[in-house]
Symmetry: D2
Subunit: 134 residues, 4 copies
Amino acid sequence: MDMQWFLDRDPFARMLGIRLIEAGPGYAKTAMDIADNLKNGAGIAHGGAVFTLADLAFAVASNSHGKLSLAVAAAISYVKAGTGGTLYAEAKEVSLGARMGTYAIAITNDAGEAVAAFQGTVYRKDTPYTRETA
Amino acid sequence: MDMQWFLDRDPFARMLGIRLIEAGPGYAKTAMDIADNLKNGAGIAHGGAVFTLADLAFAVASNSHGKLSLAVAAAISYVKAGTGGTLYAEAKEVSLGARMGTYAIAITNDAGEAVAAFQGTVYRKDTPYTRETA
Amino acid sequence: MDMQWFLDRDPFARMLGIRLIEAGPGYAKTAMDIADNLKNGAGIAHGGAVFTLADLAFAVASNSHGKLSLAVAAAISYVKAGTGGTLYAEAKEVSLGARMGTYAIAITNDAGEAVAAFQGTVYRKDTPYTRETA
Amino acid sequence: MDMQWFLDRDPFARMLGIRLIEAGPGYAKTAMDIADNLKNGAGIAHGGAVFTLADLAFAVASNSHGKLSLAVAAAISYVKAGTGGTLYAEAKEVSLGARMGTYAIAITNDAGEAVAAFQGTVYRKDTPYTRETA
């Protein structure tokens, strides 16, 4: 499923170098290299950058159904510092209702180890949101 | 209390143009202008940028006690779209223990309206973390 | 503002001995004695009981506007063990929109110390929900 | 793996009728019938009861390694009302570190539909916590 248009329209994702690896109905996988400008003062991948990587997978997955979906709440647990290489975020749909959708996003490193876990809920507006309407 | 060194060491915060307005023991306030490259495809302040603004206030507040403090969990609720102007994040200490610290961060816009609410917990390492040791 | 009817209709709150102390538009304060059957195996107030105390303050505050409001997401941070006496939860409205409402709830003990922090979001249905309609 | 002793020591879990279905290293599954006294005023499974069901799976899974593990943060998303029958919570370990552990818990109904999603982090104390020491 082609959702590349979604990332193309997102300047913040581009600034962080976030790439879309795969997308499907209620599903998305994103990737981000831990460049030096994505680190914090302790020299590890910034919590805000890791959150944003997961947020993009969350956004693509939740907007894959063609209705504008906006995050209302998200929670992240950081379990391992990202020190280098590439991080991946994979979003799966927990539930899709008429108005709300909930997603679980796993963030991993090159070795497949868990780096963070993210859980988020969107509010689904009536506004169509597709490549053509966006 | 001078915590500007903390932001100076954080390249990701600099890339987003996040500024430190005020800091004290267990307290911090940050600001960020909603530049075009901090927006998402819907034309509003990116959830990842709003999170990062709050995360920086959280990080400065929790590291103000001189021990390296790393986020273990955070939750954010988005309540209003940020469409322009400047956003502010103000972190207050809910509790400080030997190993853990918890903070509540309010994110507001120029009009003083709530934009998001953030709650986070850090693990406090024994490593000293000050302007001299960082 | 009289919201006692809300707790009267909630059998689970009654089973835990949760009391409503005060209520107003977008505001509520609840209390719960740490009885022995509200403890966990470590002998401290059960995380589920502390959550429920906060959840009731959240529910009363969000339903105080007369529309049925259902929790969609909540996050809790535990900062101090509750070992005895009474716990209190005070809910304040962060934001109220047409469809969503967000609340911050502070949980404290008899000494006024923070025990937990809770943040929650409701979806507001069109269904009226008042003493008369409930 | 026999963790029944863990629930036997938890009076709050017993009051709610929560049962342990299965346990293993970093894993647990619990069940709870939606009795009338576990409902809220809207007639559906109480958010606090659903949280507690998940919390018990989280607690058994995180304490399965023999060290006393206390919740520091948890987030729950409610996706479907529980109206009757039995609810299940299945906890899986996302990550286990020396001091922290993170778990994802899926809450489902009799039909296997998602009812809620829960994500939680524990702090692992040095205190041994087993059937013999508890």
